[in-house]
């Protein structure tokens, strides 16, 4: 169930005061969407749930750091979850393969296809935020780069591998794409 900004803001404010009931309500209203965000990055349900659990632990401890001037409450919650998921993703990719991992990697590759396509997700967000006109000048390559980075958590190096492009080009595409996004998002904020 999606919740409006006012409801989430009020709940976060109560959580900052240590209100356990508000914390449970905040979880019920936001956890499904936040789990989707973590799943998009991590691709494995148990890891995604782990990221959301850690994120809610931080939200319970740091709800008083949220301010309405920091933007929409779901954007703040999503940022906490994304940072947690990115940390898990980076630690997974650093870990050497162990016995039995081959099977896991194979299943991961199969399940990766079940996730929504990152470019589709970006296009849907662009429509939902009414940025279509503002972003029409952004080339497809820049969009793909942004989408893979945001929804899949790929680093500069991984993006260069995936897109078969020099890392310098990837950095330029991302920078230009982000500049466009900043202008458009700030204009509608």
């Amino acid at each position: 169930m999606a919740a409006d900004d006012d409801t989430l803001q009020a709940l976060i404010a109560r959580v900052a005061l240590g209100d356990a009931q508000a914390f449970e309500q905040l979880y019920e209203l936001s956890a499904p969407r936040l789990l989707g965000v973590a799943m998009s990055l991590l691709g494995r349900r148990e890891r995604a749930e782990e990221a959301v659990q850690e994120a809610f632990f931080k939200i319970w401890q740091r709800a008083d750091s949220y301010s309405v001037t920091a933007g929409p409450p779901f954007a703040w919650l999503a940022a906490v979850v994304r940072h947690q998921a990115l940390d898990l993703l980076r630690s997974e990719r650093r870990r050497p393969l162990e016995f039995g991992d081959e099977e896991h990697v194979a299943s991961l590759a199969e399940r990766a296809d079940e996730r929504p396509d990152p470019l589709d997700l970006l296009e849907q967000a662009i429509d939902a935020l009414r940025l279509r006109n503002c972003l029409q000048a952004v080339p497809q390559q820049q969009r793909r780069c942004l989408a893979l980075a945001y929804y899949r958590g790929l680093t500069h190096t991984q993006l260069a591998d995936q897109l078969a492009a020099p890392i310098g080009s990837v950095k330029v595409w991302l920078r230009r794409g982000l500049d466009h996004l900043r202008r458009c998002l700030d204009a509608v904020a």
Binding site: A16, L17, A20, F23, E24, Y27, A31, P32, R33, L35, G36, V37, S40, L41, R45, A48, E49, V52, Q53, F56, F57, W60, D64, A70, G71, P72, F74, A75, W76, A78, A79, R82, L86, D87, R90, S91, R93, R94, P116, L121, L122, Q124, A125, A128, L129, L146, A149, Y150, G153, L154, T155, H156, T157, L174, R175, L178, L181, R182, D186, A189
Partner: protein, 245 residues
């Protein structure tokens, strides 16, 4: 790198929030955020922007275990306490509280509380007093006199409790106003102080947001509760505002 350049911080913050930094660069930038406020500000700006993109991701139904784990580590963790927790807490609080309690006891004796209240009231500080919640405390006195007013607020609460240790002689037609003073900022009126007994001021936000930077409290006599930004009359009472944790 020259982190004084806003455009560099902005680019690093964008890459950090987007998630494209390598693990090492990510850790380095997180360290920078802890030491350079401008870096943290740049991150929050990009989180505000890019967080909107997460709204298009389809939701998933969490397993029942997910909430159970979260609940156990958050709400469940604050009650009930184990013996080990209590021992750790007593050790930690004892190191902080012994000097403070000694000071508070001396102060109470100094203001004659012992003579003013029945003997039964003045007992050794009970062990449960060590469980006082983290609070902001102020003890206000005239420039050349004994303490008159105690003010306290639990750090996450919006209630500021007041206790008059002796009656306050408020001139006819005036009110006593409590002010918060922080650094070079103008004094900020918090609310009205009663002439005697106890009272309470409802803060506009939890004490952690209202009092964290406040170093002094003051009381002045005014014709009415001043609006924010007004200048106070001379303070008749003042004292330091301290964090009690």
């Amino acid at each position: 790198m020259n982190y004084a350049k806003p455009e560099l911080l902005d680019a690093l913050a964008a890459a950090y929030v987007l998630g494209t930094l390598s693990p090492l660069a990510r850790r380095r930038f997180e360290h920078l955020c802890r030491t350079l406020p401008a870096a943290g500000d740049a991150v929050r700006e990009w989180e505000r922007r890019l967080g909107r993109l997460a709204e298009s991701v389809p939701p998933l139904t969490p397993s029942a275990q997910m909430w159970q784990v979260i609940e156990r580590r958050t709400i469940g963790a604050r009650s009930p306490r184990t013996e080990t927790d209590d021992e750790d807490l007593s050790r930690e609080l004892g190191a902080w509280l012994r000097p403070l309690l000694a000071f508070a006891c001396g102060l109470l004796f100094a203001v004659g509380v012992v003579r003013m209240y029945p003997e039964s009231f003045v007992e050794p500080v009970p062990v449960s007093a060590l469980g006082l919640p983290p609070s902001y405390l102020g003890i206000l006195a005239p420039a050349d006199g004994e303490p008159v007013l105690l003010a306290s607020a639990a750090r996450r609460e919006q209630r500021l409790g007041l206790k008059l240790l002796q009656p306050l002689n408020i001139p006819q037609g005036q009110v006593a106003v409590l002010w918060a003073l922080s650094g070079d900022a103008p004094p900020r009126p918090l609310g009205l102080v009663p002439a005697q007994g106890t009272g309470e001021i409802t803060l506009s936000a939890p004490a952690d947001r209202q009092l964290a930077s406040v170093s002094q409290l003051g009381v002045s006599f005014e014709s009415e509760l001043p609006a924010p930004g007004a200048r106070p009359q001379p303070f008749v009472l003042s004292g330091r505002c301290v964090k009690f944790w």
